[in-house]
Every structure is written in structure tokens, then in C-alpha cells.
Symmetry: C2
């Protein structure tokens, strides 16, 4: 049994702070338990000790005749700690604290929440909240929440599990799911997350046999590895996870920080973590539920190829555009398939989308027959039908139902989606067949995209490889030469460079290395050398190098009089290749994260970089490179040679391993530029920032 | 009276091909006219000449006792031409041909459509179709269509006019509009567009007093200037135009071309035309109707600043993210406003979004009071409220209604939007107040974006300035030197360059111009010089130039033995600036269109270019530059100097005028690179392609 089973699906529950007044939160929660179909035992706890809402009640937890599986606490905040102590004493170890007035209000509330945390640590109790909406399990008739939504709409039972931090956010999702007929297995809102967070709830849902699809919403995240583990567990169980994370913009992140007290962080880092762990991120509640609904009904499409059959040419084109823009394929049908199609429906047009025209005269088998031809003719993962208003007419529906039944039977692993206006009955009958129905063509495509991507992401989902700590590093010096020495030790190529302390040494080094050369100031105190004029390029002879040495030292002294100068680095000029940037930064939540991009305007103007968790495998490194748009420059640009991608992959793996091994010692590794050449790749400049105390 | 008034709103209508069988198109159309509230006179025309569906009928148009305003033709295609002749003879000059079997089927159908066009030309008759769905005017109870939608859902009357090319596309929009309670003024589907196209329909709707908002959908466009005029008329009337154009991807464009026989064209060109003419392009039917619904109910927001008030912190953040990503502003409230907010609702958090928390205890005036403070404290164009499930509870609604009524009264020109789950009654009551209601937070933001942008676009909407033809050009030579001479004549700066016929001449020219120089092959037959190795850069002395001359001539002869070579252009090397690309291409539908972008990866890798109609005004040129992402490089890059933007604007205007003046003689002007320098800007290479015969 999962350790949270009793919390999500208690067979008996105490309501601490139960009230006879359904206007009060403790009254409303009791009312929901009593009236909405819960078959477990309910124990109201109330200081009066008389019956509450017709149920026998108890003065205290201690008085209860048995140990209930769970307790819901609805007392004023100052009384919560004692209630938790009482629960622990009684042996109730699964408690939901619905009361507010804790950390979210600051001041005294923070202190009270700390006390809750202390009780959890001491007793091993598991709690949700404080300041949470509670949880529901519609298949059990269990609605352990005061949500006012239930006054007008009770979520129905089904296979979609929902975990959100915010209660209002969650109840909005429950409500819309209900309007759309999406059944819920369990739903929980975790509130202030003194113990159980969204990740822990996902972990439960991933194991819960009643849940097939998981929807989640995060505002912040404190335990990156916990989130990774939960998402990977769901991916391994092949339960699609559709997830939202608010705070993606600066304004949003600032607001989320104010609101939850948790760091939003670099949005693309959480994006990368979701992707690596097989979760599909969406940006609206509508999309969340569209994808969830599709996944709950139908198989995930086995390829990104989509066949489009439309009774309207225009809407066929609209859907083809939407597919292509989303990154799905709309492969044109080969001539032999087109010939078959024309035989089935002579007026049909197009190679995919196929326009059947509306001239069908009730011959619904046309859809099945053409689909059969298309499915056999191309690697399609999904077929979309645009069927206009057929779904509004129940009388005209049976032949369509028959055609789709046959099609589903022939291709049980492919996704078949109907787009049309329809009445509820038709929609439900198609859902039973495993055919999701959408009214809006663009939303249908967006949902198919989600399902197709989830299949690919889950198949590739994996944690970053485990890696032990490396031997202690000497980080007493952090200038460029020291950083390069460390990276060379990690197996990266660096140039034959020399640290010089005098102009004469520099001239001699340059002569030995070969002209032209670059000179760079060396100082632990000057991490950004160009800012002080500490870099000179393309020095062509001995005189230029000697003068350059003096000039660079002079500039550094002028700009940073207090800096300790370690001399000047003399390096050969190498420019034959493409400049890339490789960085690893230690994210406070997700640990060391690799950043990769190409130098110049791609990064600085178009923000064309991508992130991945460290350490990288070669496959992940390759995917990281591919997810950078400008990486196509590596294949050769304007007739230039293809560059050594293998060397780049190897370097990414080595840097990422180095940073992961030394995560306790290093905050940042930045190699900029990292020059990828036709053969090999080399560190041109590097910076290592030791971990701040 | 608009020339199409009788077509859209006939006071009497003949149904040619009326049938007693409502299963047939001619029977269904008559049924709709008879049964759905039309108050005009209906004249069924039927070969039997007996009564049809209980109405007296006539054998022929000629027999009619009066001249009806319009006729609907539902005969088989081969009989249509004679029916049109009969209509013309009777004096009916507004006819809708609903019959199919014309150009859309190819072969004989094309010939029959040509005959229809000939009749239109000869008689001055105005027709929609053939192969169209007809039109409706719900306020008149007029449903002149066979659409099967009407069997289950009749669009209600309202202020939204709809013009689509495709009938199925149109009827999908009518259906969804109906489900959402969006009332329609007129709707038309133009089918094969032998005469009336979507632009002509928009032109009518722009003048129609019953229409306040226009929705349109195009698959192709044949008359670019007609579309411009219609959109500008709507913009001048301050009627929002929300428009879709399918075929935005290559696959979609190919499908649209198959399907409609019309060219999809470069999608960004039609994008530019829409924008210039004040129309707002959307990519889904859902978005089309969301924006239309908002515009039909509420004022367009006077600024892009949005205030967000939410009972849920999480959903406030979600909406803030959506605003920022869409390009709306979410300005933080100044401290004095925050102080006011805390006084009104002490537990409120955030600077915008403002989290009121759900602890309101029915105090709905909180929303009004906080909004008042926010509206006065910042330049907000709109306020969004997230109100959870308040709208599900009619009993709790009156205090909210009161608060919003007061708010609308205080700020009649600002947009107030409610996001919540709600019952229909609450939604309708808020709509009456001018408050649009959305269930999905992200959709609400997207609709606000549309409304805000429409206001800005309509205010700036203008046709490209009229410009007469220029004096005839000598286009007998088109090599680089000739192209530059023409551009110099148009007022652009070119370098002092020399055309040289021998190596000695080249060496002499280089000496006179100053080293280093560039050499470029000159030939009308070699428009792409680099492809034949016809460009050499950075030649530093007389020897290099002389050898370079011979080498270039040799390469050109080897690559293109048949080309006539006009010598070699010797030009000074100039590199101090940012390379841009200025192009003008004559679009077959929209005439000369300017393209602008920055050289290198910005264009080639990121497709960072923008289009505008020629000729440009300085304002439009400036906006064109701003719409290119990488244009920020012009302000100075990595400490470099700011570049001469004014010179660029002037050059764009001059090139665009030149191309527009000579649109009958020139297909393409391309200046690549056009170097923008710290002072001035200069043509480095140019190509002019005369108009193909």
C-alpha cells in the first residue's frame, strides 16, 4: 500500500472542527462527506460533544471508539498544533489541515507552521496543507473539502488524477472537468506544503490503480529530485502527466514568489526537467484538460504522422496548418492511395488533407474506407475527421458509429479523433468507442500533439545518471588558466597556452606558439576580462606582444587597483570553426543544469539556448544540441565544412560530469567560447565559480 | 443603399429549383425561408408550377407577378446559366447560386462557370457562388441557405457579421456562435466567388448599420486592392475585423491551392496587409469567436496595460504570464495604490496581479474598490477579475452585479472582463453590463489582446500612398552596375565604383579608389555572382587586383560559357556598419511588397524578416524596422556606435517608391547587403529583375 493511500482514500475520517452550520468551513466539509455518497465512517469532533448535522459527535480525538484512517482539521490556526498532537497520540497518521492562517499570512503564521513541521518530524505523521483545500476521490464518494464548487457541481468518477498546489486553481480544473464530462479518480490541493507537495501527490497517483492520467499544476518547487522521481514513476507506469507551471515570465515569477514564497527559477530549466522526465507541459487549463481527456479515452499515437479527412476543404487546410505549425507531420498520400481514395469517393480532393466534400449522401463508410487506405499507405499515428454537424443529429449517427467502430477495430493502437459539433449523447457514445470528440479543429490538433509528444517523451524518460562525488578540487585559483587546467583534467581539449609574468616571457611564448596570438589578463579577481580591456587579439609579431603585455597589465591595474594579477595568458589565435557556449549552473532546486547555445546573435538576440540536467549521456547531449535552433550551423554553413559534432557531444558529457561530480564545490562552469572545428573542439575561454558559502 | 443590400436583406426572394421534398437542397432552402421567421415574400419556382410546401409556385421567373429583390438558384449546374438569363430578363440583379458542379469540379464545370461570369459581365447582375451556402440575416428571420445546421440550431440575431469563402467553415462558425449565444447580423459564404468575394462581403458589412463586428475567413485572395479597401472601410467605421486565412504553412498552402484553385502566396505578406488595414488575424475558430464576442459586448481597451485581480494567487500568476507572453503590460501598482488596496482588503497580496484571496465573506464591493484604486493609479486599458465559481450561484450574484455596474459607470471606456465558471443567466446579465465572461483564464487574455491590438491597428490603418507611374526605365541592362545606377537615380547612396574591361583598367581603378577593393563579375546573365565564384573581396594591391580580374573572368566563362560578360566592377571595401537586406517583390495579388531584414543568421536561420506594402511612408518604414527582432542591433551592439536609422528609413521609402512607381516594369528589387553605417547608409550590392512577360 502506498504510504499516502489512507490520506487519499480513507475508510474512516474524523472532522476536527465539525460544525452544525454548513455556512462554516467545518460545517460545509462535514456536509460534503455526509451527503455526497461517502461510504466510510465519519467522526465529527466538536467541543459541544453533541450530535452535529444529525451525526453523533465527540468532544475530542481521544474519545473516539476507533482510530480513523484520516482526519481533516478545520480549526482556527492557533488550535491546529494541539489537534495534530491529539491525532498522533491516537495513532492517526494521515491528516489534512484545511485551516488557513499559517505561512501564507507571514508573521505569527510562519511560527505556527514551523510548529506543524516539528510535529510532523517528531511523529512521522503525513499531512497536506496547512491552508489547503483537501482532497476528493469521486469513485469512493469521498469529498474531503470545503470547496464551494460542490454546491453546484460535483465532479464525477473517472480515471484522471489531479494534483495542484493552489486550491482555487484546482477547483477551477475540477469544475471544468465536470462540465466536460471528464471523470476524476483523485484530486488534491497541497496548499502550503509543510509536508506533502505536488510531487508527492504525483507519486501516489502514479501508483494508484484507479488513475490512468495525471494532471498537475505547480507554482514553485522545493524538492527537484522528488519531482523528478515522481514524474519518472508515472512515465514508467505509462501514465501521461500533463503539467502546468506558472511564473514563466518575470512578472509572473515575481508574483508567484510573493504568493507562495517559493522560487520560480529559470523557466527553461523546469521545462527541461519536465521533458526529461516525460511530462508534457501546457500553458492553459483548457489545453490541460483537452490533452487529459484525449489520453483518458484513446491510445497515444505511435507516430507523429497525421491523416486529415474533412468534409470541408477549408477546415482540412486549417487543421493541416495547425499540425505543421505544431510540429506534427501531414504526409502526402502516395499515388496508389490517392487512386484508392478516388475510387471510394470520386469527388474527393487533396493528398492529405483529403477533402471528401460534403457530398456523401449518408455513405458514412466512406470515412472508414478512405482511412483504411490512408493508414495502410503511410505511417500515420492518428486520423482526424472533420464531420461538420453530423454529431448534432442522433438519428444520422448509427452509420457513422458503425464506420468508426470498424476502424477502431482494424487499428486499435492508432488515434482516431472526430471534430464536429455534437450533442452530448453522440460525444459519449464516441468516447466509449475510444474516439475523442472536439468541437474546435485547432484544439483537436493541439491535443493530438500532446498525446504524440507524451508517448515519445515517456519512452525516453530517464533520470540523469547517478554519479558519485569526485576527488577534492584545488579551487584556490579560479583565473582562466586555472579553470582551463581543471577542464583539461576533466578531459576537454585546451590550446597550448602559456602563463607569462613579463613582456619578454610573453614575446618568447608567442614566438614558440606561432603568430598571431591572443593575450588575456589572468586574475582571480577579474572574472570578466573584456570589461577591463584585458583581452587583445591577433597580435602579429614580437613587438606587438611585448607592448600588448604592458598595455594589458596597465589597463587591469587602472581598472581594478586592488586585484591580484597573476600575469598574462598567451594563446594561439584559433578561429576556424563555430563558437558555442557551454555552461553548467547549479540550480538551487534541480542541481547542476547544462546550458548550450551558439555564440553571437543566436544567443544574445534570439535567446537560442537550451538546458538539460547534468550529467548528460551522449543521447541527451545530442538531443540538447538538436533543441538549439542555430545548431544547424554545425552541419556546415554557406558551403563551409561540417563540424565535429562528436567532439562537441563528448565535451558536453565531460563538462556535465565534471560539474555534477563537483556540485558541492562549484556553482558555475562557463566555457565561452567553446570552438567546434572541422576536427575536434577546443576550450577558448573558461570560467569556474566556486560554490558560495 | 449599398449595392449588395438586396442580396443580404431581400424583401422578397425567388427560390429557383424549389422542391416539395425537404431532403433535397431546393426543398430544404424553401423550408428554411418558410419556417424560420422570414417576413418577406417567397416565390417558389418549380417546373410543375403547382404549389410547393403549401406555397403557390410558378413555372418560371418570367411568370412572377413582381420582380423579387433576390433569387436563390438550386438547379443542377447545366440549368443555372439559363436561370440567370431569366433573372436578368425579369430584372432580378441579385442572385445567389447555391448549385455546385462548377469550377470546383474542373472540366466541364469550369466552362459552365465561365458562362456564368460572362452573364454577370453582360448584365451587371451581382451573384454569390456558384457552389455557395447562401446567406442569412437572423434579425430579418432570413435564412437563404440549405445548411443542415438549421435542423438542430438556428443562429440568433445580433451584431456580428460573418463572411467566409467556405460554406462548411462558415456553418461551423455559425454553429459555435449559436452555442455561445453570440448573435449574428448577417452571414454569407461566397463559394467559388465568380463575382462576390469575401472582400466584397466585408465591404457590405462595413457599411451595414446592423453589423458592429466582422468575422471573416479567407482561403485565397484574387483582388488584393479590393481586400485592402474593404478592410480599411471597416477600420474607418471602427468595426473590428477578426480574420482567418488558412494555408499559412507549405502543406496548408498546397492543400488550399488544390482546393480553391487560388494562390496562397507568402503568408507573411497577407499578414502585413491585414495589419496595415487594421484587421486582426487569428489562427483558430475559437479565438475568432472569443475576440468577436468581447468586441460585440465591450469597449476596446484604450491601452495595453492590464490590471489583474484574482481570488486565487495561482490563477492571477497564470493570467499575468499569459499577458506578458502575449505582449500586454501588467504594470506593478505604485506604493500609494498598494496602501489603498491593503486598506480595502488587508490580506490582499501582490502588486499586480493582486491576490484578493478568497476571504471576502460576500464583500463584493472589494472588487470595485480595488479596481477604482488601480485604474486611478496606472494607465490600465483593462481589468480582469478571476472570480472562481461565483457565477454558478445566482443567489450570490446581485452584490457582484452591483459592484461591476458601478465600475462600468466610473470607467465606461475601459474593458472589464470576468473569468469564472458561471451559469448562463449570470453570463448574460454581465454581458448586458458590458462585461464579457470567460471560463478559461488564458482565453480571456487572448481575447483582450485581440481587442487591444485592434484598437491600435485601426487607428493606424491606412492604404499605401497612391503613387503614379514613373517615366519609362531603361532596363536593357540588369547587371549590378546597371541596377545601382537605377537606384542611385532613385536617390539611394551607392559607392564610387568603376566598371572595368581589362585587368589593367581594374588595377588603375583600384589605385584611384584606394585599397582594399572588391571585384565582382558584371553580366545580365549572372544574377547570382557568388554561385560562379564571381566575387573577390579584400584585394590589397595592384597585383592582386590584376590577377583577380583575370581569375574572375575565367571563372565566369567556365561556369556560364554562354553568358555575355560586361566586365568587372571594382568597388572599395566598406564594412563599417550593419548589413541589412532590402527587397521589393511584386506580389501577384497585393502588388509591390517591401521586405526588410538584417544580414547573416538573423534572416537565414531565424527567418527574421518583415513585410510591408509599397510605397512606404516614413512611419510605416519605421514600424517595419521595429517589427524585425534583430533591428535592435541598429541601436549599437556590444558597445558599438548607434547606426543611422534615419538614413535606413529614407532608403526604405525611396526604394519602395521606386518599385511602386515602376511596378509595371519591375518584378524584384533586391539590395543585399544594404550597409547601415554610423552616418549614412549605402547599397553594396543590388539586383533588379524586370517584369517577366
Amino acid at each position: 500500500m502506498h504510504p499516502l493511500e489512507k490520506l487519499f482514500r480513507p475508510r474512516s475520517v474524523a472532522v476536527i472542527g465539525a460544525s452544525g452550520d454548513p455556512g462554516k468551513l467545518g460545517g460545509r466539509t462535514l456536509f460534503h462527506l455526509k451527503e455526497l455518497g461517502y461510504r466510510g465512517r465519519i467522526f465529527p469532533i466538536n467541543t459541544s460533544g453533541k450530535e452535529v448535522q444529525g451525526l453523533p459527535s465527540w468532544r475530542s480525538i481521544a474519545d473516539l471508539p476507533e482510530v480513523p484512517d484520516s482526519a481533516l482539521v478545520l480549526l482556527p490556526a492557533p488550535a491546529v498544533a494541539q489537534a495534530l498532537e491529539d491525532c498522533a497520540a491516537k495513532g492517526i497518521l494521515h491528516v489534512q489541515v484545511l485551516s488557513s492562517g499559517f505561512a501564507e499570512e507571514g508573521g505569527e503564521g510562519v511560527v505556527m507552521q514551523e510548529r506543524v513541521v516539528e510535529i510532523i518530524r517528531r511523529t512521522g505523521m503525513r499531512i497536506t496543507g496547512p491552508n489547503c483545500l483537501g482532497s476528493i476521490s469521486p469513485p469512493d464518494g469521498y469529498f474531503g473539502t470545503f470547496s464551494s464548487l460542490l454546491a453546484t457541481a460535483k465532479p464525477g468518477p473517472g480515471k484522471v488524477g489531479i494534483a495542484t498546489q493552489s486550491g482555487a486553481y484546482g477547483s477551477h480544473i475540477y469544475a471544468v472537468a465536470g462540465f466536460r464530462g471528464i471523470g476524476i479518480s483523485r484530486a488534491i490541493a497541497t496548499g502550503n506544503e509543510a509536508d506533502i507537495d505536488v510531487a508527492a501527490a504525483i507519486d501516489y497517483l502514479a501508483e494508484d490503480p484507479g488513475t490512468a492520467v495525471i494532471c498537475a499544476s505547480l507554482e514553485g518547487c522545493r524538492d527537484g529530485d522528488g519531482l523528478r522521481r515522481a514524474l519518472l514513476k508515472a512515465a514508467a507506469a505509462r501514465k501521461p502527466v500533463i503539467i502546468m507551471k506558472v511564473g514563466s515570465t518575470e512578472v509572473g515569477a515575481a508574483a508567484a514568489a510573493t504568493h507562495t514564497g517559493s522560487l520560480a527559477g529559470e523557466d527553461r530549466i523546469i521545462d527541461a526537467v519536465f521533458r526529461e522526465c516525460g511530462a508534457w507541459r501546457v500553458s492553459s487549463i483548457e489545453e490541460l484538460l483537452d490533452v487529459a481527456q484525449l489520453c483518458a479515452i484513446a491510445p497515444l499515437p505511435p507516430s507523429s504522422g497525421v491523416g486529415i479527412l474533412s468534409v470541408s476543404g477549408g477546415i482540412g487546410v486549417l487543421m493541416a496548418d495547425a499540425c505543421i505549425e505544431a510540429g506534427l507531420d501531414v504526409p502526402p498520400m502516395p499515388p496508389e492511395v490517392l487512386a484508392q481514395i478516388r475510387e471510394i469517393q470520386p469527388v474527393a480532393g487533396g493528398r492529405n488533407p483529403v477533402d471528401t466534400t460534403a457530398q456523401l449522401g449518408g455513405r458514412m463508410h466512406v470515412f472508414e474506407d478512405i482511412s483504411q487506405a490512408m493508414m495502410q499507405g503511410a505511417q500515420l499515428g492518428a486520423i482526424i475527421f472533420y464531420l461538420a454537424h453530423i454529431g448534432r443529429n442522433v438519428a444520422r449517427f448509427p452509420p457513422l458509429e458503425e464506420a468508426l467502430t470498424a476502424l477502431r477495430r482494424s487499428f486499435p493502437d492508432r488515434l482516431v479523433v472526430a471534430v464536429m459539433t455534437s450533442v452530448e449523447e453522440v460525444r459519449q457514445r464516441l468516447n466509449v468507442l475510444g474516439v475523442p470528440v472536439f468541437e474546435d479543429p485547432t484544439r483537436a490538433v493541439r491535443a493530438i500533439l500532446g498525446a504524440a509528444r507524451i508517448r515519445v517523451l515517456q519512452a525516453a524518460a530517464a533520470a540523469p545518471p547517478a554519479i558519485g562525488p569526485g576527488p577534492p578540487l584545488d579551487l584556490s585559483a579560479t583565473n582562466e588558466a586555472a579553470a582551463k587546467a581543471l577542464l583539461a583534467g576533466a578531459g576537454l581539449s585546451v590550446l597550448p597556452e602559456r602563463v607569462c609574468l613579463t613582456a619578454a616571457e610573453a614575446a618568447e611564448a608567442a614566438t614558440a606558439l606561432g603568430f598571431p596570438v591572443a593575450l588575456k589578463i589572468l586574475s582571480d579577481d577579474i572574472p570578466h576580462k573584456t570589461e577591463v580591456g584585458g583581452v587583445m587579439l591577433n597580435l602579429a609579431d614580437v613587438t606587438a606582444v611585448a607592448q600588448g603585455f604592458d598595455e594589458i597589465m596597465r589597463r587591469a591595474r587602472a581598472a581594478k587597483p586592488a586585484a591580484r594579477l597573476d600575469g598574462v595568458l598567451v594563446a594561439p589565435m584559433v578561429t576556424d570553426g563555430v563558437e558555442t557556449i557551454i555552461g553548467v549552473q547549479r540550480d538551487p532546486v534541480f542541481g547542476p543544469m547544462v546550458m548550450f547555445g551558439l555564440g553571437g546573435v543566436s544567443v544574445e538576440l534570439f535567446g537560442d539556448v537550451a538546458f538539460a540536467s547534468a550529467p548528460l549521456t551522449p543521447e541527451r547531449a545530442d538531443a540538447l544540441i538538436n533543441s538549439v535552433h542555430s545548431a544547424r550551423l554545425l552541419a556546415g554553413w554557406r558551403g563551409g565544412p561540417a563540424l565535429d559534432r562528436e567532439a562537441l557531444v563528448e565535451a558536453l558529457c565531460r563538462v556535465s560530469k565534471f560539474a555534477a561530480r563537483h556540485r558541492d564545490a562549484i556553482d558555475v562552469v562557463e566555457i565561452n567560447p567553446f570552438l567546434v572545428r572541422a576536427r575536434g573542439a577546443v576550450v577558448l575561454d573558461a570560467l569556474i565559480a566556486p560554490r558560495r558559502a
